[in-house]
């Protein structure tokens, strides 16, 4: 009886996931296994050539390396900036924590396109920063700020930071203070209490924040295109380029390489941070 109701309740979302996710992804994979065609979506012959072409091409290796570099930099910055912020947010009383969380979410209400143009206004050759520095006589010629990889990193990082802060803050706020007291009772000062108890116990939040930021970085497009320009392309940009050039099977294969990369990285993060081992309380 109970299982039948569970099935009834689960059926509609399962059907939707099947129709709009599993089937298209399977189809996309099917597409990626075919030769390109001038007139059709894909050619008739089955081939692994699309994958072989990408994996054997040093250009794509470079793009992949850049993508990983950007993701690593964004993750590092989000953790470095986000953890301290989350720590202090978690210390706030519940009502004020709610308010601060809302403030953190506020930038997410502004479209990424608008935010990217904001960065362009700041970073462009005649943008606020260059104009300001030139006006002050600090630099003679405008700095090359826009359309660089650092511009992409900073632009994406500021968008993704709230995800990291909120994930970690929620875990820290739910942490039983008795753990920290127990550590202190055993002679651990504030720093060692943090390193040996608070930090490891916040790993579920760090893991979920890291995964969110990583996956959103890998799938971001607008910010990368607007701030990275033609020289700082990432894997997603190459998929888009493939689609616009009507190289459907090639773009499909690239999509699966990106998906595989995301899965591997997710596995690595979960393996390193092992959030599950602190889940379940000490009782």
């Amino acid at each position: 009886m109970k299982t039948r109701w569970a099935l009834v309740l689960a059926a509609p979302p399962l059907a939707i996931a099947l129709a709009f996710f599993v089937v298209p992804v399977a189809y996309l994979f099917w597409v990626s296994l075919h030769q390109p065609s001038q007139s059709e979506l894909y050619g008739a012959a089955l081939t692994l050539g699309n994958y072989a072409g990408i994996l054997g091409d040093s250009f794509y290796l470079e793009i992949t390396r850049r993508t990983l570099g950007v993701a690593a930099a964004i993750l590092a910055l989000c953790l470095l900036v986000g953890y301290p912020v989350a720590y202090f947010v978690a210390l706030l009383p519940a009502r004020r924590r709610m308010l601060v969380t809302l403030l953190l979410l506020f930038p997410l209400m502004v479209s990424n396109v608008v935010r990217a143009y904001g960065w362009i206004a700041l970073l462009a050759r005649r943008g606020v920063i260059n104009a300001g520095l030139e006006g002050l006589g600090v630099i003679a010629a405008p700095l090359e700020l826009l359309y660089t990889t650092p511009a992409v990193v900073v632009g994406l990082m500021t968008i993704l930071l709230p995800y990291m802060v909120i994930s970690i803050a929620n875990t820290l706020a739910a942490l039983d203070r008795r753990y920290e007291e127990a550590a202190q009772a055993l002679g651990a000062g504030p720093l060692r209490t943090f390193l040996h108890v608070t930090l490891p116990l916040s790993m579920p939040g760090v893991a979920s924040g890291t995964l969110l930021v990583l996956l959103l970085t890998l799938s971001a497009y607008v910010t990368i295109t607007l701030l990275g320009g033609p020289r700082s392309k990432l894997l997603v940009s190459m998929i888009y380029d493939g689609v616009t050039a009507f190289q459907w099977p090639h773009a499909a294969a690239l999509s699966f390489i990106l998906l595989a990369l995301a899965l591997v990285l997710t596995g690595v993060i979960l393996g390193v941070l092992r959030p599950a081992r602190v889940q379940g309380t000490g009782r």
């Binding site: 753990y179 202190q184 055993l186 002679g187 651990a188 379940g280 309380t281 000490g282």
Partner: protein, 361 residues
């Protein structure tokens, strides 16, 4: 683990007129405590009485508004918890979920930078002490409540603290296990000569475990003493009522015969050992198990059986008298002869009746 050295008479924990309020609420009001080395001191009282706050003041998790805290003669009032010589077992145990049993127990030694070899020897010893040597590599979530409790105890004992603080450590266990752990805890404490402060709201637990009990109410210690004294000679109505049931009788001292006072109640005279002067209005407490029922016509307070409740080893008799309701507990073996509606006479040893200091009859 060696005994911690039980030089008699040394005071391991001392609180002098300690006061703590949270906003407008006075949680601990001028509390004075002295705990001699090697003894268990219980803080007993209902929730909100200030017993846990008192414990947290000793630990340093709370700062007193006034008064001083001493551990082993050192004034620690201004020291943070991690610089005080104590360890603590929490009600929730607070075992670190990301560390194994052995790592949990080793934590305090690591913080003290104990060399690795000595550390692992001490951990093994502590785990053997609580009979958990076989589970050293498990994680807390893989243990039962009772096992977690033992790990928490081993973790607290392994650092050989000057004082062991226990915050309702048995509260989360079921009744059978709790009684077993009480006895085990007591024998462990006596074997190791540990000084311990024990917070509980369970009066039986306090009586079983303690050398001395402090009964707290509204931030004030109402009475301190050995369990037997607290139970047999309660000073206040609250203490008498909180530690088991009590009968309360109001009356006036009508006459004195040496050390014995004869108190006239609404139901007749009762005799008890007290130094209250003739004419004083007093409130008298008598434990239900001290009350003996006799057949109508014998000496004693006349009463009538309203209800009889069979409770296994004892039977509870609920009585009505002119001085108010009374309760009498009788061993099951003696209880069979009575039935509801019987007219009885209630009597007790005058030495077992107590005049309460706050009895405004």
């Amino acid at each position: 683990m060696s005994a911690l050295g039980s030089s008699a008479g040394e005071i391991d924990v001392r609180l002098t007129t300690v006061r703590k309020s949270f906003g407008p609420v006075l949680a601990v009001h001028d509390v004075d405590i002295e705990i001699p080395r090697g003894s268990i001191f219980s803080l007993l009282g209902p929730s909100g009485c200030g017993k846990t706050t008192t414990l947290r003041l000793i630990a340093g998790f709370e700062q007193p508004d006034a008064g001083e805290v001493y551990i082993r003669g050192d004034r620690v009032t201004a020291l943070p918890p991690y610089k005080r010589n104590f360890s603590m077992v929490f009600q929730s145990y607070a075992l670190f979920p990301h560390l194994s049993v052995a790592e949990n127990v080793a934590f305090g030694l690591r913080m003290r930078k104990t060399p690795r070899a000595e550390r692992s020897r001490a951990v093994t010893e502590a785990l053997d002490l609580v009979k958990l040597g076989a589970l050293a590599e498990r994680y807390p979530r893989q243990l039962s409540g009772g096992q977690q409790q033992r790990v928490a105890l081993a973790r607290a004992l392994v650092i050989k603290p000057a004082v062991l603080l226990l915050d309702e450590p048995l509260g989360a266990l079921d009744k059978m296990l709790r009684e077993e752990m009480q006895i085990e805890l007591r024998s462990l404490q006596q074997r190791l000569g540990i000084t311990a402060v024990f917070v509980t709201h369970d009066q039986e637990e306090a009586l079983t475990l303690s050398d001395r009990v402090a009964v707290m109410r509204n931030g004030v210690i109402e009475q301190v003493g050995p369990p037997r004294e607290i139970y047999d000679r309660p000073c206040t109505e609250f203490v008498a009522g909180f530690l088991g049931a009590s009968n309360f009788l109001d009356g006036t001292v009508a006459a004195r015969e040496g050390a014995t006072a004869i108190v006239e109640t609404a139901a007749g005279p009762i005799r008890l050992g007290a130094d209250a002067p003739v004419g004083a209005r007093v409130r008298v407490a008598v434990r239900p198990e001290r009350v003996r029922m006799r057949r109508d016509g014998a000496a004693g307070l006349p009463a009538r059986i309203r209800d009889i409740v069979y409770r296994g080893p004892v039977t509870h008799f609920y009585l009505d008298s002119a001085a108010g309701a009374l309760v009498c507990h009788q061993q099951a073996a003696d209880a069979g002869a009575w039935s509801v509606g019987d007219e009885v006479r209630c009597a007790w040893d005058p030495a077992s009746a107590v005049v309460l200091s706050d009895g405004r009859a």
